[in-house]
Symmetry: C2
Subunit: 164 residues, 2 copies
């Protein structure tokens, strides 16, 4: 898929098909995370990849706002060697854009970091960031009808030139 | 450019050609920022686009670590209606990936937020995040020689499966 289209068309998805993500596709997603630039080239991001159904369900049970995660084919948790939310966001977006290009939807979620870290046996001293849920999407359900879709704010409300 | 290639090949660049970025290309970059998903769909990101040479130079003078920004053809400052570094990172990455696909290099930089906000007349109550410097790159200088290029950490050091 064209880079511009993948970036601009990508919508966060929380409804997934019951279809596993092949290892090769998951590896492309992780490579996208791995190759992400980082502040001072510190490479703070690590990944815990969860596909076992019971463990995905346990993650989804960590908070009412994460129930939809139970349907994900794979969950990638970003764990950081030093806290850096901006670098986590860059990494997450790279993974989600590449996934989208391969027909895989995604959405980040935030659950209690201590509980998630305990569940995944993340060692003390590392920092659990957000998780990203991935799964194939049903194109028929991937987009809200145009008539009801919430539109992004228009560019002329967002962008200012030379000064605010 | 293919989405996977744009994401995986993109390297942060701090050396730019003296060549302006056409309005149409800049608009694609801003659309990439605009269409980025955000936590709870809050759309916190706004953009201040700077191309006037004197103003770009003034931004570059805000800190010794930002001197290279002076050569940027355009600087996009992310300003937020509420602080959210992760969403700023998602947005920044989208803009940089689309730029890369169009031959435009980029790198984020962090300068004193108060000084940058004053320079750009950002109203009180908004939050200045990082800036991103954009400019065309010389392919011959865009990559270090393979023999000296710092490689990213290998995937098998970064990724853990099912638990840490």
């Amino acid at each position: 898929m064209d880079a511009y289209r993948a970036v601009v068309d990508k919508r966060d998805q929380r409804i997934f098909l019951e279809r596993p993500i092949p290892d090769a596709t998951l590896e492309r997603i992780l490579q996208a995370g791995r190759m992400t630039g980082s502040s001072k080239n510190r490479e703070p991001n690590r990944f815990v990849v969860v596909r076992e159904r019971a463990k995905v369900a346990a993650i989804a049970a960590l908070g009412p706002q994460a129930r939809w995660v139970a349907a994900a084919a794979a969950v990638v948790v970003i764990v950081q060697t030093e806290r850096h939310d901006y670098d986590a966001g860059r990494c997450a977006q790279n993974m989600m854009v590449v996934a989208w290009g391969d027909g895989v939807g995604s959405c980040p979620a935030h659950v209690d970091e201590t509980q998630l870290g305990a569940l995944l046996r993340v060692p003390a001293g590392l920092h659990v960031n957000r998780l990203i849920a991935f799964g194939y999407i049903d194109p028929a359900r991937a987009m809200p009808p145009r008539s009801v879709a919430r539109r992004r704010l228009p560019l002329d409300e967002l962008a200012h030139y030379e000064q605010w």
